[in-house]
């Protein structure tokens, strides 16, 4: 059951990511990225990270991707143009990415025995466990993120404001 679910949503992830790469219109790429993020939420659930699965759906597919689609629609950006520079990127980019994948996959599969395997429901980190660490041991970094978000909001407002 676990393996079947992993393959269904893993394939959905890869298909969405490939679609992001192949589409020429940014809105299509954004919609396929939403598919990737939602299927990743299911994979988090399979790994026993229930809080992160909810946060992934709310923060990533909800907030961030809505921001992306909103900006794409606001700017009314058309199909991306092919320029002279993209040819060199094709020659270097695809083999480079394939080599990166090859190295990473080789290392992970080599160490497969030591990494063990995941069982459905084998380990469940509840929101309670997470909050214990977050609000007791890591309270200062948590508070620092609120300052970070505030600065980001101020920066976004200052940058996007129309100058008179």
């Amino acid at each position: 059951m676990h393996l079947v679910l992993f393959f269904i949503f893993g394939l959905l992830c890869v298909a969405g990511a490939l679609n992001l790469l192949l589409q020429h219109h940014p809105i299509n790429s954004a919609l396929s990225l939403i598919v990737v993020m939602t299927s990743l939420a299911v994979l988090y659930l399979l790994l026993g990270a229930e809080f992160l699965a909810a946060a992934q759906v709310i923060v990533y597919s909800g907030a961030i991707m809505v921001l992306f689609t909103f900006v794409i629609m606001l700017l009314n950006a058309g199909v991306e143009e092919h320029t002279h520079g993209s040819k060199a990127a094709y020659i270097v980019g695809f083999p480079g990415a394939a080599a990166l994948f090859g190295i990473l996959a080789y290392i992970f599969l080599e160490q497969s025995d030591r990494l063990g395997s995941a069982k459905l429901g084998g380990y469940l980190a509840t929101t309670h466990d997470l909050s214990q660490v977050l609000f007791r041991d890591l309270l200062l970094p948590f508070e620092a993120t609120s300052a970070l978000i505030l600065v980001a909001i101020l920066g976004a407002v200052a940058l996007a404001r129309k100058e008179h």
Binding site: L43, A77, E81
Partner: protein, 100 residues
């Protein structure tokens, strides 16, 4: 039973596709989205390792990555809007204000 290595290989696939999209794409918004894809791939690695060693620290780290990604998306998209106002293009080849 799914080997943890499968999750890590899936994350490697997503990360490599993100790298390829980052290098090949010319539209600044799509480049930005491929950065988000790479961040998500790394998040999957963190969750898989957190599951492997029964630690919540990995998941906490994913939480912080999400926060930083949200802040980054807000500021980055504001920069894109400001850029589009002055240059009227989203093509990265035509945005070379800082070129010497």
């Amino acid at each position: 039973m799914v080997p943890i290595a499968y999750y890590l290989v899936l994350s490697a696939i997503l990360f490599s596709i993100g790298v390829a999209a980052f290098l090949v794409k010319r539209n600044i918004i799509t480049i930005f989205m491929s950065i988000e894809l790479m961040l998500n791939a790394v998040n999957l690695t963190f969750v898989a390792f957190a599951h492997r060693w029964h630690q919540v620290s990995g998941q906490i780290f994913v939480f912080f990555v999400m926060v930083v990604a949200a802040a980054e998306a807000a500021v980055g998209l504001a920069i894109i809007i400001a850029l589009f106002r002055t240059r009227a293009t989203l093509n990265v080849d035509q945005v070379d204000l800082m070129k010497l």
